[in-house]
Each structure stands twice: as C-alpha cells, then as structure tokens.
C-alpha cells in the first residue's frame, strides 16, 4: 500500500486535506464515523481502476473548521464547497460512509445535476422510533470498536497512533472527529434527510454490513423507498457499520460493478 498524494484546500477559511491516488475516472469518498486518520486498503483497491479523491470533512482527521458551522444549511454549503474544490461535483460518482453518506445524499438532493452516481454505505441522517439508530457517542471506550466493525481490531488499528506521531495531537484529532460528527448529527443522527431523499434522482447503490450494529436494516428500505433514482441494495457479509474496513475487497467490487454499469 503506497501513500496517496496529499493536498490542502480552503473551506470557509479553514484547511481541509484532500488525498488522491490512482488514474482513471474520478471517484470521491466521504469517510464514515471517526474519519480517516490513515489511508485504508479499500481506497487502494479502488485506486487500481480510478482516481480516488478523499476530501476531509471539517473536523475529521485532516480537516479543520467544524466549529464554524452552527446548523445543517451551513454544513451542507461547506460540504458542497469541499466537494467542489476537490473537483467532485462534475457529474462524478461519490461514495459516502455513515455520516459521510448522509452528507453525500444531501448534496445530491440539493444539487441533483452535479452527481452522476451515489454509493451510500450505511448512511446516517434518518431515524426510526421503532428501530433507533445506536448512539455512537454514548459508549465506553472498548465498545466503540465493537460497534463500528465486525472485526474490532480493524477500528483499533485505524485509530492507533503511528510511530513518530505527536502523542498529544494524534488523540486530539481522533476526539475532534467524534465531535465533528456530533456537531452535525447530535443527538439522534437524524438531519431530516428522509424528506429530501425524493430529490435524489441519480442511481444509488446502498450497502450495509450484515452485522452493522449502528444502522438498522430497515433504514436501507427507507432510503430505497424515498430516493427517486434507481436504487440497488446489497448486504455485505461479515461486515459491520464500517463495511469498507471489514470487507474492503467485496465493498470495492460492488462499487466498481455499480460504477461501470
């Protein structure tokens, strides 16, 4: 696994990292809960066939400025600008995971003509009283990894500090990522996205780990039912909420198959 190219763009006066790797059609990825402190195998697989572009959501690892946004409109404008500056709003396919998926869906709802295709991995943004989404911000330390991944070690490895990193700033960066997600989605994960899904008219691939402990299966039906564009739903075996961590090959394969259609 080689390192991606790292650039920084300006979003509302704050720096946000943009990783890119590979050649071919451009494909974007907005990360899931906790963000990406490290490049992951899933992105490497995609980079074999595509130019993979990974902007950091403000507050997620590599991105700053989350405290600048006080409401959902401000967040969506920031995400729009983040994607635009990353050259991902030119009829491009965008993948999102968890909170990133919810934000992608909102962008597609607000600016339907700018997105070619969407892949949403266990998207946040809706809520059911009958089947509540898990509360990712009310967990003991050891429970978070079990909540996020079918193989908790994958989360632990992603979040562990690489040798040589500043020992103070690394954990603060991880903590900031959780805060940024809370700033957008506290307390229920519900941004009212369900009402806006009808405006999503591009083709959408919906993926969910069979063992996802955060997003109930029924949420995928809600997405599928409300999105105006054609939807395909796939479940990933032996995968949890961050299916791209648990099963990078299978998730990448499903996405590449969807993109090439």
């Amino acid at each position: 696994m080689t390192e991606p190219i790292e650039n920084y763009i300006d979003v509302s006066g704050y720096k946000c990292r943009v990783w890119s790797k590979g050649k071919g059609d451009r494909i974007g990825f907005l990360p899931g809960f906790g963000g990406l402190p490290k490049w992951i195998p899933f992105l490497d697989i995609l980079a074999e066939d595509y130019e993979v572009v990974v902007p950091s959501i403000p507050g997620f690892p590599g991105g700053l400025g989350h405290n600048n946004y006080d409401n959902h409109l401000e967040w969506l404008l920031a995400i729009h600008d983040l994607l635009q500056e990353s050259k991902l709003l030119d009829k491009t396919t965008i993948i999102g995971s968890g909170p990133g998926a919810s934000l992608c869906a909102d962008i597609a709802a607000l600016w339907p003509s700018l997105i070619k295709k969407l892949c949403l991995i266990s998207p946040w943004g809706i809520y059911s009283d009958n089947e509540p989404m898990a509360d990712p911000w009310a967990q003991r330390a050891h429970e978070v990894s079990e909540l996020m991944c079918d193989n908790p070690e994958l989360w632990n490895n992603l979040k562990s500090e690489p040798a040589g990193k500043n020992s103070v700033e690394w954990p603060i960066e991880q903590s900031r990522a959780l805060e940024a997600s809370a700033r957008i989605f506290w307390p229920l994960g519900n941004t009212g996205l369900e009402k806006r899904l009808r405006r999503v008219c591009c083709p959408v691939l919906l993926l969910r780990g069979v063992n996802d402990k955060v997003i109930p299966k029924s949420y995928m039906k809600t997405f599928s039912k409300n999105i105006s564009g054609q939807t395909t739903t796939k479940e990933i075996n032996q995968a949890g909420h961050l299916a791209e961590l648990d099963q990078p090959d299978i998730v990448a394969k499903e996405i590449m198959s969807f993109v090439s259609l």
């Binding site: 330390a141 603060i172 809370a182 506290w186």
Partner: protein
C-alpha cells in the same frame, strides 16, 4: 468565612442492590425505582432541612440543577429557591448553583426567573452559572456537546445584558435571536446579583472568572484532597493574571458529619456516606464524555473532568476518554495516586481516610476545615451536611452541631478580607413582612 448549606436533594430510597442491578443513577436510571408519594415526603423533608439550616445561622442555602438523576431531585432549582425565598430566614443568602444556562433558549427565562427570585427575596440571590454536567446537558437535555460552551458563553452575555440594559434591546446571537428583550421584573441587586461559576479544572474557566470578577467554585464530591491540585492551579493562574489573593474569589464543597465524638460520628454517618458513594455515584461511563464537552485546550492540559473520574470509578468500564491524552493517563478504575488518594472508595473508612467526608467532634471538624480552607484558600465554603439517605433528624442534628459548635470556631478565618461576591439585599426594614398575616399588602 462564609458557610453555605448545600443540598443535592437526593432520592433517599434507592435499593440496597442498586449497584448490582442498575447501570446508572443518571440519564437512564430506572423510572420504576421512583415512587412519587415517597418523593412527596423527600421534597418536603429536604426543604425543611434547608429552612432549618437558615434558621440556625448558615450564611446561605444552596440548590443546584440536575436532570434524570437519582441523587439530585432538582430539575428546577429555581422552584426550590422560590419556596425558600418566602419561608427561610430573611438574613440568609439564597444561592442557586445554578441554572445550566446553555440549556435555555431563549435564556430570557433564566434572566427572568433569577430576577424574580432576587425580587421575592429582597436581593438575597447568588446566581450560579454552571456549564452543567455532560449527563444533564448533553444526554438528559440533548444539547449538542460541540456547541455547549459556545451556547453557554452567549447565554451568559444575554442574561447579563437583560439584567443591566435599561432599554429594550435586540439580541442577534449565533444561537439566540430576539427582537425584543426587556425582562420584567429586574433584579434588586445592582448591577446584578453576584455570579458564581462552578467548574472543573479548566484554565479557560479560571481566566474567565478572573476577567469577569466572578467566584470560581470547585464542587468535588471527593473532598479537599481531590481539590488540591485544582485550587493550586486556580491560584497560580490568579497570580499570573495579577489578581489579588482574596480567598472569597473561590468556593469549595465539602461533605461534613459532626457528632459529639469521632466514634459517634462514625456510627451516625457511615450509612449515608456509603449510600452516596456506592449508589449515588454509580454513573455509567457511557455518559461521561460526549465528544466536544472537554475543550481541546483542556485535553491538551491533560485535566480530567471529575465526572469522568466518577464514572470511571463507578462501574465495570471506563468512559470513552481514550482519545483524550490527559484523561487517558489519569484515572482508571483502580488507580491510586502516589499520595494514597483514590477516587473509588465506597466503604466508610476509605471514604473518611481519603477525605471525601470530614467527620468528628466539633473541634476535630473545625481543625480539619481550618487546615483545608487555608491550604486550598477559599472563602465560600459549601457544606453537604445532608448526604445520601440521611434522615431529616440526623441532617438537622448535623446542621445544628455545625452551626453552634463548628462555625464559631472558624469565625476569624479570612476576617481581614472583604467578600465582594456576596449579595447586597434590601434592608430588613424595607422588606415585606411576609410571615405576618395581618401585614398590609406589600404593594400598598
């Protein structure tokens, strides 16, 4: 020295097996444990205790705000204080520590209610402005932890302006927009009631209190030993900022049990102390550290919130603080400091040994208090003389012994300093004679 009688108003009948069968006393505490008819008695006992404390000469009575909490039955402390404003000794200050001001949108409500309390009491209010615990604010009240401190700061500005601006004004904040702000009533005390700020060990809070000339209160359930480092940090910061060392700038909380002898104190206070530290401080670690509640500056400073510590100590798990460098290295379940101090004592001998509760004869208690008051340097002493499942009779005996035999022994403490942060009430002659049924109407 000011002696302030502080009440948490605990639910006093949590079952013996609470720790074994229930995960948390806070947020998702089992509602089936709550008996409203028993609570009727508890509320009235607790209010009686506070009125009694005022009668026997405490300088202030203090209430505070908790939500979904088995050891704090005051979601609305202002309701309690309204009752006390009418019925308690008119020479006693009334301290609400306080209202978690970030929770109220618009904060007009806090400005109005505190102004009401100041009017009803004739200017005896001390206004406490805590950020509030994560359990109360973020989980029980759903406030966004990432916005909590920003909202707190804005609510503070709003309330102070509402109290002091004589004109109707518009408020155009990030979180609160009001076309017309013009509270009615206005507080008796000018420019406003003294403001006290309960806080943890955050440098930002110390600096802010110094800048605004507010009292900083360290309200730890773990007594003076736990407060040492925090209070040293506070005074070091005051020195750096060039502030005087007036001890009334600071307040601390201490559990106390007084009896005729140490042996008798052990006999009387063991059960309520163990009830509190075993049952009441069983807080789920899940609710101890919502992301964003601890500022990045504080994370860097490595200061652990006492709530996280309480939670860490309370159960079979630790709070989700692993991302926080200072906290990560601080308390774990069985950590014991080099000086022997621990925050997980639940048995009475260890509770006393670690200084959570000071017990003894009046002389013994006064001696211990004198030492810590000077070592930690604070002038506003908040005393928990009812704690856990202590009965009204025991609480009143404790209160009476303290007022009659401990307080006088400390009367000389800090007498050389002026307390600038104490209420300035109307004179008694000008106040309504509210207990006289034949009195003419106050409005006449």
């Amino acid at each position: 020295m000011k002696h302030c009688w502080f009440h948490l108003m605990p639910y006093t009948e949590l079952p013996d097996d609470f720790r074994d069968k229930h995960e948390s006393v806070w947020v998702d505490i089992d509602s089936k444990l709550f008996d409203p008819e028993r609570a009727h008695h508890m509320y009235n006992d607790h209010l009686d205790e506070m009125e009694f404390a005022a009668d026997v000469g405490f300088d202030a009575v203090c209430v505070n705000e908790h939500h979904s909490n088995g050891y704090g039955l005051m979601p609305s402390p202002n309701l309690m204080l309204a009752s006390l404003a009418r019925r308690a000794n008119p020479n006693t200050a009334l301290c609400v520590l306080g209202n978690s001001i970030a929770l109220y949108n618009p904060p007009t409500r806090v400005a109005e209610e505190m102004a009401m309390l100041d009017c009803i009491s004739g200017g005896r209010l001390i206004a406490g402005f805590p950020v509030g615990s994560p359990m109360d604010t973020c989980y029980a009240y759903g406030q966004n932890p990432s916005q909590l401190r920003e909202r707190y700061a804005e609510a503070h500005d709003f309330i102070k302006k509402a109290w002091t601006d004589p004109e109707t004004f518009s408020f155009n904040g990030r979180f609160n927009q009001q076309r017309y702000v013009n509270i009615w009533p206005r507080p008796v005390q000018k420019p406003h009631p003294p403001i006290w700020v309960p806080g943890g060990g955050s440098v930002e809070t110390w600096r802010w209190c110094a800048e605004m000339e507010y009292v900083y209160c360290y309200l730890s359930y773990y007594g003076f030993q736990a407060a040492k480092a925090t209070m040293k940090g506070f005074w070091d910061e005051m020195d750096r900022l060039g502030k005087d060392r007036n001890p009334y700038r600071a307040g601390c909380l201490q559990f106390v049990g007084v009896a005729e002898s140490e042996a008798q104190a052990k006999e009387i206070y063991a059960e309520p102390a163990e009830y509190f530290y075993d049952r009441c401080l069983r807080v789920s670690a899940r609710f101890a550290n919502p992301p964003g509640y601890v500022t990045e500056a504080t994370q860097r400073a490595g200061v652990e919130s006492q709530i996280a510590a309480a939670a860490n100590n309370s159960e079979n798990g630790v709070a989700n603080t692993s991302a926080l460098p200072g906290i990560q290295k601080a308390q774990s379940i069985n950590e014991i400091r080099k000086d022997g101090f621990t925050k997980n004592a639940r048995e009475f001998d260890a509770i006393v040994e670690n200084g959570y509760v000071i017990i003894g004869s009046p002389d013994q208690v006064a001696e211990q208090l004198r030492e810590i008051i000077h070592e930690l340097r604070f002038g506003q002493l908040m005393l928990l003389l009812q704690f856990g499942n202590m009965t009204k009779e025991v609480a009143n005996n404790n209160t009476k012994l303290y007022a009659e035999k401990v307080k006088p022994l400390l009367s000389d403490v800090w007498s050389e300093w002026e307390n600038h942060w104490w209420p300035k009430p109307m004179s008694l002659a000008k106040r309504a004679n509210i207990n006289d049924a034949n009195n003419t109407l106050a409005a006449e």
